[in-house]
């Protein structure tokens, strides 16, 4: 809106005391650097995807197009088990962290400011502020202790660890949504004698929907992609897809890894692109 009021600065080309500034905003070379960044960020992934379709065993020489490595990857029991473990953990972590994050977001935006609000933010965002390796070994130490005391084992530990670090990722978009939602509709409903629960289910929740969806998607992607915490905490047989890929890379590079990696990248990108559209709808 403010842009419309003033004459766009870049249009004002004139000689200036400092020299001939044709475009006020332009800086020589910056465009080139920006393109270098984009190429650097995307070239490796494009090469990876490209060679996953190579018919040859080589990840260097291109001989022809084929889906062989995808077929091989999908037949591989190790990969299939790992994918199933990943999805199980990610679904559990997403559900738990999204519910917890939604409740926390309601508490921090829909009640009056309270003492200790800063502390609450600090605790919720804590998993983001500590280096992941520290969280990983600390969680391992706790779980080792609990396992020793209770004798309980299983995939539950990994699920809980994922739920914990997914909370801040789910919390951010949900809180952002609540902050931009006006209170008018909720107040109107209350004024018309709707009980609080009804206000929540009929007004707040539907309006908050896109925020919750965005939060859940982020949580899912973050859980699906985690390496370090999973690597430290996972017990025997609890191999997720990223852990399987890490092991495979250590054993030697094959186009099969490229194929699995491409699938995982595609899932993440698909979710993020979907998220992008959800958020665009939210802005409207």
């Amino acid at each position: 809106m403010t842009e419309a009021k003033t004459v766009p600065l870049e249009k004002k080309s004139a000689w200036r005391p400092g020299g001939w500034a044709r475009d006020l905003k332009a800086m020589p070379g910056f465009k080139t650097i920006a393109w270098i960044c984009i190429v650097t960020l995307y070239l490796p992934i494009i090469v990876l995807i490209w060679f996953s379709f190579n018919e040859n065993r080589s990840v260097v020489l291109w001989t022809g197009f084929s889906f062989d490595w995808y077929a091989k990857a999908l037949e591989n029991d190790g990969i299939r088990n790992a994918a199933w473990v990943s999805v199980k953990i990610a679904l559990f972590a997403t559900v738990i962290s999204t519910i917890a994050a939604t409740m926390a977001a309601l508490a921090t935006t829909r009640t009056r400011p309270f003492a200790g609000q800063g502390l609450v933010y600090g605790i919720i965002n804590q998993p983001l502020m500590i280096p992941e390796i520290v969280t990983a070994i600390a969680t391992l130490s706790l779980f080792a202790l609990v396992k020793k005391l209770t004798g309980l084992t299983g995939i539950g530990y990994l699920m809980l660890a994922h739920a914990a670090f997914c909370i801040p990722f789910a919390y951010m978009p949900i809180r952002a949504r609540l902050q931009t939602m006006t209170l008018t509709l909720e107040q109107a409903a209350s004024d018309l004698y709707a009980p609080p629960l009804k206000v929540f289910t009929l007004i707040t929740l539907p309006l908050l929907g896109p925020g919750i969806v965005a939060g859940a998607m982020l949580a899912f992607v973050v859980s699906l992609d985690d390496v370090i915490i999973t690597l430290m905490v996972a017990g025997p047989g609890e191999t997720t897809l990223p852990i399987y890929i890490l092991g495979a890379i250590r054993r030697g590079i094959t186009p099969e890894i490229n194929a699995v990696s491409t699938i995982l990248v595609a899932v993440s990108i698909l979710l993020v692109v979907l998220l992008f559209f959800v958020q665009r709808r939210m802005q409207r």
Partner: protein, 309 residues
């Protein structure tokens, strides 16, 4: 009814709603706080305790107080007479990590600032596309991105093939498993963290100040360093923090691109819980890493605090 009674009733009602609100809030906050306190913060306490214990034979700990972990960090005890001699092995891993993380931060700033500026000066619709392109890699798996980087910087990777085909080099450049590879990998991993906060502060830049600079006989360089950079300082500080902290604790990048030979703190900590199995020492190293991060955060808080005043 007297006014005083009315006031009393009103106060009671307010008191009642306030109390109800507090209860509701506590219930709403409980799940998130309990999960994070129990699974993320309580373990840090355990790590502190572990760092003062004696290592168990097969991993884990023996419940005997000892400060060996911290002593071991700096000194090596002689097997025969038990005297302590300074051991630089671990200190040098920390210094290397700090150096690499600092280098990566500076590299990311040099690449990220022009990029963020370029995006911020684009028309609005194009900005969103550029921002989306910068953010997208952040949401793809870091392990896979690092593996992809490994594929192209290998001796037989696409970079060497292209350079050799062009006749620029005659034999392949060995990049993989060197500090250079780790350095490139760190920049590649964390570049989006630099661009986004920089963009956020450059987007708000008031270009009439830039115009004023030119009017006052400044050339482009002067405008850049005396007008634009100072105004973008909050973004620069935030971006540097967001790159430095994860780079310092990096695990995957040195593991894959450094080939396990060029260790960083992250790998060293992980090793203590795996093959070499000294949990107390690993805990101590993790706490020292945490302390470094806290120091950086405190410096940041002081710098930004001063700016705000």
């Amino acid at each position: 009814m007297s006014g005083r009674e009315d006031d009393a009733t009103l106060a009671a009602v307010i008191d009642h709603t306030r109390r109800r609100e507090r209860v509701t809030r506590a219930w709403l906050l409980a799940p998130a706080l309990i999960i994070i306190l129990a699974i993320s913060i309580l373990p840090l306490g355990i790590t502190i305790v572990y760092s003062f214990l004696t290592p168990g034979t097969y991993g884990g700990v023996t419940w005997k107080f000892s400060t060996d972990s911290y002593v071991q960090f700096l000194f090596q005890s002689d097997i025969f007479d038990g005297t302590l001699a300074f051991n630089s092995a671990y200190v040098s891993i920390f210094l290397r990590s700090i150096g690499l993380a600092l280098g990566a931060t500076i590299g990311a700033l040099l690449l990220g600032f022009p990029t963020a500026y370029f995006i911020a000066t684009k028309p609005r619709e194009q900005r969103n596309v550029w921002l989306f392109l910068i953010t997208l890699p952040f949401w793809t798996n870091l392990l896979i991105r690092t593996y992809a980087m490994l594929l192209i910087i290998r001796d037989e990777g696409i970079i060497n093939i292209v350079l050799m085909k062009l006749g620029i080099i005659s034999s392949p450049l060995t990049i993989l498993y060197t500090d250079t590879a780790v350095f490139i990998g760190l920049i590649y991993s964390f570049l989006p963290f630099m661009v986004l906060p920089l963009y956020a502060s450059l987007e708000k830049l008031d270009f009439s100040l830039v115009e004023a600079g030119y009017d006052l006989y400044a050339n482009r360089l002067k405008v850049l360093f005396h007008v634009i950079v100072p105004l973008a300082k909050p973004g620069i500080v935030a971006g540097c923090m967001l790159v430095f902290i994860p780079a310092l604790g990096a695990y995957i990048t040195p593991e894959l691109l450094g080939g396990g030979k060029k260790l960083m703190i992250g790998n060293m900590i992980a090793m203590q819980f795996g093959a070499s199995r000294n949990w107390p020492f690993g805990s101590a190293a993790a706490l020292i890493l945490m302390a470094l991060v806290v120091i950086v955060l405190l410096i940041n808080a002081r710098v930004t605090g001063r700016e705000a005043r």
